[in-house]
């Protein structure tokens, strides 16, 4: 196990370092001048230059990169250009609870909707239930989430008044059900497909034939013998999804007007708030890398074969 850790943890750190560098390069090297955007279209060259100086954009790229890295060492992501004097990390942490709640609920929907559907489909492959759920999950995979969200808003919030239209006030759960459902739907479709495929594969394996030969009822074979083996990879993938969602789901947050990290990033992009964009992208990538690492570790704990 320690050998596995020794190999996997440095690898994650290298990837994180690459993420930091790439995120910095993306937002600093590509054309586009935030100073000009802040100064406005009619500003004089002198004004733009002074803003440049104020933001530290007149220093060399290497200097800016070094400063950025040093800041990261004490969790300093810099100060927002647009929101005066607000540290990027403060702004992100303020928006995090909304995104976290959305992410957790979204992953729950994925599991609750997707896995049972996959099991039902695998129960009698090729029969009506299988074909219907297979088609439904393909439609779910093909539907753009923002459109599904708007459709749900139209039907459930506007036509039938079951949910609030948009925003985020107490009781928060009312404002989270539709967004998290929308978020989970696409993933649920994918998990349904994956569960079905893996179940069918497990159903062909020798231990299942053995269980059947012993006269186990099909339901027990399906739920006790197959599902256990199918479930563990699915759980790890749900963990990765959680990491992915924690970084903010821009589209969902924008459709439902939720003040999460995704919305924050999107607003920052409108004003070319470079430190905020870099910070938010890094933050999202950080969650993905860390969750991937945790998932790998959990996997190694459960399955000794992975440790090698």
């Amino acid at each position: 196990m320690s050998r596995f850790l020794l190999r996997r943890v440095p690898q994650a750190i290298i990837v994180l370092f690459g993420v930091v560098t790439l995120a910095f390069l993306l937002t600093h090297v590509v054309p586009g001048d935030p100073a000009r955007l802040i100064a406005g279209p009619n500003a004089s060259a002198a004004t733009v230059a002074s803003i440049h100086h104020e933001l530290g954009l007149d220093r060399s790229l290497a200097y800016q990169y070094g400063k950025f890295l040093l800041g990261l060492l004490h969790f300093d992501l810099g100060t927002s250009f647009a929101l005066q004097n607000t540290p990027v990390s403060t702004a992100i942490l303020r928006a995090l609870p909304v995104s976290a709640a959305l992410a957790v609920l979204g992953v729950l929907w994925e599991a609750v909707l997707g896995i049972p559907v996959g099991i039902i489909a695998a129960y009698r492959p090729g029969k009506l239930a299988d074909r219907a759920t297979t088609l439904a999950s393909l439609v779910g995979l093909s539907a753009p989430p923002f459109w599904v969200g708007l459709l749900l808003l139209y039907l459930l919030a506007f036509k039938f008044n079951l949910f609030p239209l948009s925003g985020y006030e107490a009781p928060f759960i009312n404002y989270l059900i539709l967004p998290s459902f929308t978020l989970g739907l696409g993933g649920a479709a994918w998990y349904a497909r994956l569960t079905r495929t893996n179940m069918l594969e497990a159903l062909r394996s020798p231990y299942v034939q053995m269980a059947r030969a012993k006269g186990m009822p099909e339901r027990v074979v399906l739920l006790r013998h197959c599902l256990r083996n199918v479930l563990s990879p699915l759980l790890t993938m749900l963990g990765m999804d959680l990491g992915y969602f924690l970084g903010g789901v821009v589209v969902i947050e924008s459709v439902f007007g939720l003040p999460g990290v995704g919305k924050l990033t999107f607003d920052a992009i409108g004003t070319l708030d470079v430190p905020m964009i870099t910070g938010a992208v890094l933050f999202a990538a950080f969650f993905i890398v860390v969750m991937n690492l945790l998932v790998d570790l959990a996997y190694a704990l459960v399955d000794p074969r992975v440790r090698r």
């Binding site: 590509v30 054309p31 586009g32 539907a143």
Partner: protein, 306 residues
């Protein structure tokens, strides 16, 4: 499933190589058995025709705003009244914009994914075949790019480079090559130990020639499958970007952007939401179904791709 059995020789590592080329007869026979695939291909052909013939099919130009296309209170008018699918909030013909929007979706989806496929194959093939430090660097790079949230990466990059069709294509390609690179690399890893590759290398062929003439042909089935499935995802990303206002710039019609413009009016003009949304779902669904069918036909062991 219903597809006829495919003659394959499993390699020791588990990857398969079709021993017989996908002849036209086999393709047609499999299509006859796979109704969803047949329908999806018909849909794709119709869609391509609609996109190509947009100027002939549309009764109005897509960018023209019509004063008579708005009600007295300035609201868009519904289907009928001279506009087959109604008008949008600017008084433009929705049908015309849908047809021209098909061009945008298809062209961007196919170009972006084509570029991503080329990148993915190049990286995967080089990493898998050369191995050593080249492989380490390329695969770490893949890990890094995979760690970026796709949409956020695209938005951030486009916001600094400015929205345009070209930038959307480049940005999608830049984030989307990674999965294919990994799959190709793992296939090459097992292929390069096979006798014919070892023989080719022993004969002193250049690396480039071994990759191009001896490895690449074995990767073609996988590439075709993922290239088809990838178009679906690329179209969805383009639509999301356009929906967020960082995709195809106005006034060029694109489905995502049409949904965005319609969303303020969905309470009084739901067709603004339904029309482009249904087009989007049908297109993406057709590409997904076609990709699934190709997978069954060409490369049954290919892993699921999200």
């Amino acid at each position: 499933m219903t597809a006829p059995p495919i003659v394959t020789t499993p390699a020791p590592s588990g990857e398969t190589v079709a021993t017989e080329p996908a002849g036209m007869r086999r393709v047609l026979r499999s299509l006859r058995h796979d109704k969803p695939a047949l329908i999806s291909i018909v849909v794709l052909v119709l869609l391509a025709l609609a996109a190509i013939l947009a100027p002939l099919l549309a009764s109005h130009p897509p960018l023209q705003t019509y004063p008579e296309g708005l009600a007295a209170n300035g609201a868009p008018i519904g289907p009928g009244h001279g506009f087959p699918l109604g008008t949008d909030p600017n008084g433009r013909d929705v049908l015309a914009r849908l047809l021209y929007g098909a061009r945008v979706s298809l062209v961007i989806g196919i170009l972006a994914n084509g570029l991503a496929t080329v990148l993915g194959v190049l990286v995967g093939l080089t990493a898998g075949y050369l191995g050593g430090w080249v492989e380490t660097v390329l695969m770490r790079l893949t890990d890094v790019v995979m760690s970026f949230p796709i949409l956020l990466f695209c938005i951030a990059l486009i916001s600094v480079t400015g929205p345009s069709e070209r930038n959307v294509v480049i940005v999608i390609a830049l984030i989307y090559w990674t999965t294919l690179a990994r799959i190709i690399r793992s296939q090459v890893l097992s292929l390069r130990e096979r006798e014919f590759v070892v023989a080719a290398r022993t004969m002193g062929l250049s690396h480039w020639r071994v990759m191009r003439r001896h490895l690449f042909p074995h990767l073609v089935p996988t590439i075709i499958v993922y290239a088809t499935l990838g178009v679906a995802s690329s179209i969805l990303i383009e639509a999301s970007l356009s929906f967020l206002g960082v995709g195809v710039p106005v006034p060029t019609p694109s489905w995502g952007q049409m949904i965005e413009q319609g969303k303020e009016y969905f309470q009084i003009a739901p067709w603004l939401l339904f029309a482009p949304g249904v087009c989007l779902i049908l297109t993406v669904l057709a590409f997904n179904l076609a990709g699934d069918w190709l997978r069954d036909l060409l490369d049954p062991t290919a892993p699921e791709r999200r």
